[in-house]
Amino acid sequence: MIDLYPEEKIILIERKHWLPISIEGLSFSMAGILPFLAIGIADSLPQSIKLVIDHYRLNYLFFSSAWLLVIWVLFFMAWTKYYLDIFIVTTKRIVDINQISLFSRDVSEMKLEHIQDINYKVNGLLASLMKFGDVHIQSAGEKNEFVIRNISNPDKLCEAISKQHLESLKG
């Protein structure tokens, strides 16, 4: 995943919350079953359309199953993008891996001693209930601010980073 420095240990690995990918999955499944639903409601369609569907039923089913396969692959592309989007806290630094698309990856890191301020925001009822939000980390480094959006348990993440930051200052 990342190459660790000597004596560096991974403290925490966090991914984005599962809710946005679940909503995306739900829309994919809706799109996937749509052609099959049309077969179910074929009886209520006009007679001319119903005749065409009846006559080319096997062809229609072939196109529907092909469409389902395309949707299946597209969902896994979205899932892979979600899965490779990771935030890592180690004993020396924090690493934000942002998978923009399948062939576009943005990896930024910040040394723990460079952290100046850290806070998190939980916006809305759903975010409060499902425990996800945005974490903002200000630094003295080249990249002034890290923003990690829709991360699970932002409070725990902030706590872990603050604890590691204090330990890095002591060390």
Partner: protein, 72 residues
């Protein structure tokens, strides 16, 4: 001018089945590359790969059977 809908659908099926196969092979190679490169040994990726390939195999088989019977 009367269209031969049967012929049009048959050509569309030929084209779409080849396009589907090409899309599936390319997408699977890309996905597999990512799964292998970044996290090869975790249980979740293994389980995901298993689900992906199993369901894909079922869908491809169903599509192939439908293609065969629709082409008769």
């Amino acid at each position: 001018m009367a269209y031969d809908y049967g012929k049009i659908i048959s050509v569309a099926m030929d084209i779409s089945s080849w396009a589907l196969l090409a899309f599936f092979v390319i997408a699977t190679i890309i996905l597999n590359y990512h799964w292998k490169k970044y996290e090869v040994d975790t249980m979740r990726v293994r389980a995901t790969r298993y689900v992906y390939f199993t369901v894909s195999a079922v869908l491809i088989t169903v599509s192939a059977i439908l293609f065969y019977y629709a082409s008769l």
